[in-house]
Symmetry: C2
Subunit: 141 residues, 2 copies
């Protein structure tokens, strides 16, 4: 449904969000290890996320990746749009060129409400909320 890059990004962020000490920094290797993601690939994804202000990082000994208070206010949608671009949530599900509310494609009406629901959910849960839920229910990332 989403690219591997997006999936890796979200899992990494949720992993960081659920550390006991919120400012505790985690290196790319231990992150990759914990989440079973190719190390070098994850490192690149993380760097990109830092550049896009979705996560934070510190160089040198004791350094690594972490989430600032600001970072934690982001929604999953924020992460997804940063990684994949804004078009994912716009545009016709099936790629019909002329699809819109006024000029709907053959599937528009049937799919619209569900797609909007999905979007709403992803847009209204921020990283903090997710971390709370994960810790409360002891969910696996």
């Amino acid at each position: 449904m989403f690219s591997k890059t997006s999936k890796y990004a979200i899992r990494a962020i949720l992993y960081l969000a659920t550390r006991e000490d919120p400012e505790q920094k985690v290196g790319s290797k231990s992150l990759a290890n914990a989440l079973d993601i190719p190390i070098y690939f994850l490192a690149k994804v993380l760097q990109d996320l830092v550049w896009k202000d979705i996560i934070s990082s510190a160089k040198g000994p004791g350094g690594g990746f972490y989430l600032s208070e600001e970072n934690r206010k982001n929604s999953i949608t924020d992460v997804l749009t940063a990684v994949e671009g804004a078009e994912i949530f716009r545009g016709c599900v099936l790629g019909f060129p002329t699809c819109s509310e006024k000029n709907p494609c053959p599937l528009h009406t049937q799919l619209f409400s569900y797609r909007e629901g999905l979007r709403y959910q992803l847009n209204h849960i921020n990283i903090n909320d997710m971390a709370d839920r994960i810790n409360r229910h002891n969910l696996k990332i």
Copy 2:
């Protein structure tokens, strides 16, 4: 949301389904022309769909692609799974390895109903239904 191959496939099938004469055969060139899809690429997609029994074809003069009665009973889900494989409708939206009803990923509960709704819609409208709707409302493919 889906690959270009899937989008092209669905549009081509709906185009065939909405021809006046249901057994009327349409060549790959005129299909590609009508739908504004790269000719050779569409031709390959169509051949693949024939091989997978999603559409039908006839060689030689007057030949081309068409939909049999059986073909028309397929749902959009049938087309999508034939093209992309069954995993699209299984598997966690965000790629969490262990996600299931009993062991849900952090997003499972929030997204489940919407995703199921999407799946249900795509699964319960067959090509015939779609063609009817398109013709009734004069929708563009």
